[in-house]
């Protein structure tokens, strides 16, 4: 009974630690692949996602803000 418990513990330790290592090893691989993919196909320095796409540009936002401000307070 006690031996069983220890045995179960050892088994859990080995399989558990093994799973953690296998998982993180695969994650190292996947991350490296992903970085390589990005480096090759999405090389632009951060512009892919930080350039405004369909959203309004800063100028548009400013123009809208001014228009709204004028509307709310036409004397200004």
């Amino acid at each position: 009974m006690e031996g069983d418990l220890i045995g179960r513990g050892v088994e859990l330790m080995l399989v558990g630690m093994g799973t953690v290592f296998v998982f993180l090893t695969l994650l190292v691989g996947a991350t490296t692949l992903m970085s390589g993919f990005v480096d090759r196909y999405l090389p632009a320095p951060d512009t892919t996602a930080t350039q405004p796409g369909d959203g309004p540009t800063a100028e548009e936002v400013a123009a809208i803000a001014v228009a709204i401000a004028r509307h709310r307070n036409p004397s200004s």
Partner: protein
């Protein structure tokens, strides 16, 4: 008069038991550690105060319809609070150093050995009759070695709610004690020369990598270890909100109002498990001892893996950063930096140590998934 007798019978003085008195002192002690010693104050202040409230005799606070019990049922039994906190951790975490050097994930993996060694230790103490932990309980205790508060609370809430108070207190206390626990272990296992090793500057990481990483991680968890998906998924969601650049208002609220509100109620709810009946039992002592052992083993195995990587790698690896693999973000990385500076005043290890540090968060969430799969 009858009413005055009613006051006296309802008073704390009349109803106080030794256990409750001791636990109120424990709660005040946690407040002392949090406020004066500044050990993990966000959690120790809230848990400590919750512990004091929970042991006030003669009123329902941590039981029945009391606020702390309701909070516990709604937030911890369901797993909602730790998961939301993990989302907030994701929104606060910069995976850049890990992406710049993914092999630091091995350090984060090695440091989880503390978790499984402690699991074995808890079962061993049971086998020799000193304690009486089931496999589920032993698994929940082991997670203390993950040095990650919300993960420990989540797993304890799933596998061993009766031990949740002791496990949470142990996890946060030892996380706070990292600056005292880790340096002697690191120094015992490394030479001055090893600790002085300088590492090559980390490369720049693009935004596309930062956006794709949480998705890669989530998909890998989905394919290999779905039982870790709730924890890892929320971490990845928070991190994706942080990095994607199009939902900054959600990310900002997650990093501030949301995580703060949940932290307050998480702390109070954990405090509700510090009632004398649940905390003042022999197993608590076992949990505190085992948790300390878990931390020490995790630190040691991280450092040893660092030494191994230094031998096998063409770029030098300072083994000190392996100690950061236990997580305890960002304390453990800061400790590694300090130890490195002692050996070599030009050696800024901080960003290098952040890699294993956040890898340790992923590693213990994966270990939590393993525990829930096997013991759950």
């Amino acid at each position: 008069m009858e009413l005055i007798e009613q006051i006296w019978l309802g008073s704390g003085l009349y109803q106080l038991t030794l256990g409750r008195f001791v636990m109120i002192c424990v709660g005040l002690g946690l407040l002392y550690l949090g406020i004066v010693k500044r050990f993990e104050p966000l959690l120790l202040v809230t848990i400590g105060f919750g512990g004091v409230l929970s042991n006030i005799p003669g009123v329902e606070i941590a039981t029945g319809d009391g606020l702390l019990h309701l909070t516990y049922v709604v937030g911890i039994e369901t797993g909602v609070f730790p998961l939301v906190i993990f989302m907030g951790v994701g929104a606060l975490t910069d995976f850049g150093p890990l992406l710049a050097n993914p092999r630091t994930l091995f350090l984060g993996a090695a440091a989880q050995f503390g978790i499984f060694a402690t699991l074995l230790g808890a079962l061993g103490l049971t086998a020799i009759g000193w304690m009486d932990f089931s496999v589920r309980e032993a698994a929940a205790i082991g997670i203390i070695g993950g040095a990650d508060g919300p993960t420990a609370i989540y797993v304890a809430g799933q596998l061993a709610p009766n031990l949740l108070g002791a496990i949470a207190v142990a996890a946060y206390s030892y996380m706070a004690l990292v600056p005292l626990i880790q340096p002697p272990i690191i120094k015992a296992l490394t030479s001055e020369k090893e600790r002085a090793i300088e590492m090559v500057q980390l490369r720049h990481v693009s935004q596309a990598e930062r956006i794709l990483f949480p998705l890669v991680l989530l998909l890998l968890v989905a394919l290999l270890l779905p039982s870790a998906a709730p924890l890892v998924g929320m971490l990845c969601f928070g991190n994706l909100m942080r990095e994607c650049g199009v939902v900054d208002r959600l990310s900002e609220t997650t990093q501030n109002a949301l995580i703060n509100i949940v932290t307050i109620f998480l702390g109070l709810a954990v405090g509700s498990k510090l009632s004398a009946e649940q905390f003042l039992v022999p197993s608590t002592l076992g949990i505190l001892v085992l948790g300390m052992v878990a931390f020490a083993i995790g630190t040691a195995s991280g450092v040893l893996m660092g030494k191994l990587m230094n031998r096998l790698s063409k770029n030098p690896v300072n083994p000190v950063i392996g100690a950061a693999g236990v997580s305890a973000v960002p304390m453990a990385a800061r400790v590694a930096n300090t130890v490195g500076l002692e050996a070599n005043p030009h050696n800024i290890l901080l960003m290098h140590a952040m890699g294993p540090n956040v890898a340790g968060v992923i590693g213990s969430a994966v270990a939590a998934g393993v525990m829930i799969l096997f013991a759950g």
